[in-house]
């Protein structure tokens, strides 16, 4: 039995017209993990997810779920997998209940009560007999999530599951996914543009950019990678900066337009009170003193910007390698 719920081996997709959507991506997602798969628009997230689900055939490499190679003619593995790919879709002429009945039959789920359970769990009770074509985007998304969860899958592959949900719905879905992972041991592979959401939920994160997996890190590594700084506001930035330099610190930033002075030394981050004392004694007391932690969004933007710079500096294309 494979220890990985999801694995890809140099998976690559080159579309017609020499469009390299995914370039030699190697992913490993252990069972029970909540894996956040991030990337800007057009980075290759959806193509990767479609290759995981056997909807798109890789040009090179392959994907495996639970150690079994993903193939269009080997459908048994989908009993263990729930999915939601990009925007939610449903048969518009069927009611919410009938759409779930379709999913129940296709998934081979014998338990008819599972439909009522999911309708209740996803807050769709009052819409159960309404045609899917008349649902709001948020309720359509809830229906798509209910369909993905109907057969109690061991692995959930979700592309933008919070699409169209209101803030309350986002929190409900987050808690639901966390519960699935923690109590049932389900593996969740989630791609989302709402990075704060992924930050709260994921136990490991992979960042894809221009088709390549540029970083993979778990929660601890993310904490280590986070940029933490002490922000200092002052009425006279020059005087405050001079006092800090005299005390052996190397402040950055700070200007008359209101940007804060920033200290990144461990000593300053561990003891902001000491910094306050230095400034007060120098006659330049702080007007603002706060620890700022880089968010996943900041980290993501910094990383993709670095990759953009690096790619622009070292062209010729990788497309030729793959095409060859």
């Amino acid at each position: 039995m494979s220890e990985f719920a999801v694995a890809t081996f140099g998976v690559t997709k080159l579309y017609r017209g020499d469009v390299l959507a995914v370039d030699r991506v190697d992913l490993r997602v252990a069972r029970g993990e909540i894996y956040g798969f991030l990337g800007p628009n057009g980075a290759g997230k959806s193509t990767t997810i479609r290759m995981l689900l056997g909807m798109v055939a890789p040009t090179a490499g392959h994907a495996a779920l639970f150690g079994e190679r993903v193939r269009a003619d080997a459908p048994a593995v989908w009993r263990r997998v729930g999915h939601l790919v990009e925007s939610a879709t449903a048969y518009p002429e069927l009611s919410v209940r009938e759409n779930l009945e379709v999913a129940r039959r296709l998934q081979g789920v014998d338990d008819r009560a599972s439909i009522a359970r999911l309708i209740d769990q996803l807050g769709l009770v009052e819409y159960a007999d309404r045609r899917a074509g008349t649902l709001s985007l948020g309720n359509l998304q809830r229906l798509a999530l209910a369909r993905a969860l109907l057969h109690e899958p061991e692995l959930l592959i979700l592309d933008e599951p919070a699409n169209g949900l209101d803030p309350g719905g986002v929190i409900e879905v987050r808690e639901l996914l966390r519960e699935l992972a923690q109590q049932r041991g389900a593996t969740v592979f989630i791609s989302s543009h709402i990075l704060a959401e992924v930050d709260r939920l994921a136990t490991r994160i992979g960042i894809i950019h221009r088709g390549r997996l540029i970083e993979e890190l778990d929660n601890e590594a993310l904490e280590r990678h986070r940029d933490v700084r002490l922000e200092i506001g002052a009425r006279d930035f020059a005087a405050a900066e001079a006092a800090l330099r005299q005390a052996g610190f190397l402040p950055g930033g700070g200007d008359a337009q209101g940007a804060f002075l920033e200290l990144r030394e461990h000593q300053a981050i561990a003891a902001p009170d000491e910094i306050a004392r230095i400034l007060v004694e120098a006659g330049s007391p702080p007007t603002h003193l706060a620890l700022a932690r880089e968010t996943l969004e900041d980290h993501f933007m910094r990383l993709t910007a670095q990759t953009n710079d690096a790619t622009e500096a070292s062209t010729p294309s990788k497309r030729a390698d793959v095409a060859a």
């Binding site: 479609r50 689900l53 056997g54 269009a72 997998v81 925007s87 379709v102 296709l106 998934q107 081979g108």
Partner: protein, 266 residues
């Protein structure tokens, strides 16, 4: 095959809830109604003009008002009209999954893709045959009603049975050939390519039948079986029927293969 029964029940549920299969049934129901009106007009053109059924200077070239003409009219309408109306049904069955972007829920499912395709073809065929059955029953009822009201000469159980059997045989062939409509609805990822193919097939069928090659062109054969070429025409050979069967099977295999192999990016 994985999930064939489940796929069939799902397709049946979707067909029952949609308006398209019912619209196709309504379209077919027009054939006997129009056929009946033609019989009334042919029976008494002057009265038809008075009732506004026929324009002042118009003539109908459908033949005479009798049972053989009525049965032939229905039979040919089923064969030729069926080629388009069945295509609507099959283009909808397959194309709607792409238009509604629901195909993504079908392809990563324990129910195999081949089962989904076969279930769609089975539901489309069963629904189409039910429509043909209803149309022929309706035609018989309308014919008997006209016979009772104004008299329709030439009744013969053998004529009606032979004519309706020809219509049913033509319909079975036309339905079988819809595997190509299904194939093109997949390749074109929507309704339009399937319908465009159906129009092209009807056009080519007319041309080749007119040139005398109809017995060897699969899409011409159903119309010939229905008696479109007239009572003196040579009957369609077993070879002609075999071409239809082989072509229909090729279309089905091609459709299954496309669903198995093509990238689903919709």
């Amino acid at each position: 095959m994985n999930g064939l029964v489940a796929a069939f029940s799902v397709e049946l549920l979707k067909a029952r809830r949609s308006r398209v299969p019912w619209a196709v049934a309504a379209g077919f129901s027009l054939f006997p109604v129009v056929g009946g009106i033609f019989m009334l007009i042919l029976k008494d053109p002057e009265r038809a003009r008075q009732l506004g059924l026929l324009g002042a200077k118009a003539q109908l070239a459908a033949g005479t008002a009798d049972w053989p003409t009525f049965v032939a009219l229905i039979s040919q309408a089923v064969a030729i009209g069926g080629a388009m109306l069945f295509a609507f049904l099959f283009a909808w069955l397959f194309g709607r999954e792409f238009a509604d972007r629901t195909v993504r829920n079908l392809v990563a499912s324990p129910t195999s893709r081949a089962a989904v395709v076969i279930a769609k073809v089975a539901v489309g065929s069963a629904w189409s045959m039910a429509i043909v059955g209803w149309t022929l029953v309706l035609a018989l009822a309308i014919g008997l009603a006209i016979d009772g009201l104004v008299g329709l000469p030439g009744w013969s159980g053998a004529v009606v049975l032979h004519g309706f059997a020809g219509a049913a045989a033509a319909a079975v062939m036309t339905i079988a050939l819809q595997s190509f409509t299904a194939f093109f609805a997949g390749v074109g990822r929507g309704y339009l390519a399937g319908l465009a193919w159906a129009v092209l097939a009807v056009f080519l069928a007319q041309i080749l039948a007119a040139l005398g090659w109809g017995a060897w062109f699969p899409w011409s054969v159903p119309a010939l079986v229905s008696g479109l070429a007239g009572p003196d025409a040579e009957p369609v050979s077993a070879g002609g029927v075999a071409i239809v069967v082989v072509t229909a099977m090729l279309g089905l295999v091609a459709t299954i293969q496309w669903w198995q192999r093509a990238d689903q990016t919709g």
